[in-house]
């Protein structure tokens, strides 16, 4: 193999299905020996939230946001046919039957494969998310760091 190829994904969505697509592509790209970056912004940040409640000092709006957004990848809803939370239960059941990997394990696998998970600090501030609430071993950056990776990227996606 010659030069190291790069894949970058902007994960904007906080939907279970779209996040799953992003992480499947990321894991696939890592298997292709690409250097892979997922840049999580806006609702996509929720994929990086720890599932347990973390006590950090927040103002009223930040608390509200924290309560209304899914705490971690497993609690996300579907982009279509969510049916007030029944949709994710159904799809997870179907996934089990088809041996598809659930989203939390896909994220774990991505970390094992050295996929760089980046949280956008500007939108973390907007949504009132603190570093303590997000997974360990992730990076924090802004648009310039993303573009630095993306301009050398062979695959760049916005999901």
């Amino acid at each position: 193999m010659t030069e190291q190829k790069k894949t970058t994904i902007v994960l904007f969505s906080g939907d279970y299905d779209k996040t799953m697509a992003a992480y499947i592509i990321a894991n696939g790209a890592a298997a292709y020996d690409h250097e892979v970056t997922i840049f999580h912004t806006f609702w996509g940040l929720n994929a990086l939230r720890k599932d347990e409640p973390i006590t950090v000092k927040k103002n009223f709006m930040e608390k509200m946001f924290g309560k209304m957004m899914p705490r971690g990848a497993d609690k996300m809803g579907l982009s279509k046919m969510n049916f007030a939370g029944m949709g994710p239960k159904m799809i997870k059941d179907i996934m089990k039957k088809h041996n598809a990997i659930p989203l939390p394990q896909l994220i774990e696998m991505a970390q094992e494969q050295d996929v760089k998970l980046v949280a956008c600090t500007m939108t973390m501030d907007l949504l009132g998310l603190h570093k303590e609430e997000l997974l360990d071993d992730i990076d924090y950056a802004g648009v310039a760091a993303y573009l630095g990776d993306a301009q050398e990227g062979h695959v760049n996606l916005f999901i």
């Binding site: 298997a31 041996n99 598809a100």
Partner: protein, 75 residues
């Protein structure tokens, strides 16, 4: 064409066959052959594209009772 290792990826869904194949190939020396078994029909296109990109040789593909068998020679 003696495989030094057989990877059983039967029943696994995308992207697992390719992720596991990559891991298994890493352990092999250049010129050694890995045999991969999958039931994911997408693996046919996946593994041939993956092998091509990495410079590995897909020597043979067989299908037997819904199980796809691949022989990959490491570059």
């Amino acid at each position: 064409m003696q495989a030094v290792q057989v990877l059983d990826a039967k029943g696994l869904a995308c992207p697992m066959p390719i992720v596991k194949t990559k891991k298994a190939m890493k352990e092999l020396a250049s010129g050694e052959v890995l045999e991969v078994h999958t039931t994911d029909q997408g693996a046919k296109a996946d593994l041939s594209a993956w092998a091509k990109s990495g410079g590995h040789e897909l020597m043979k593909v067989e299908e037997e009772n819904g199980v796809l068998k691949f022989w990959l020679k490491k570059a």
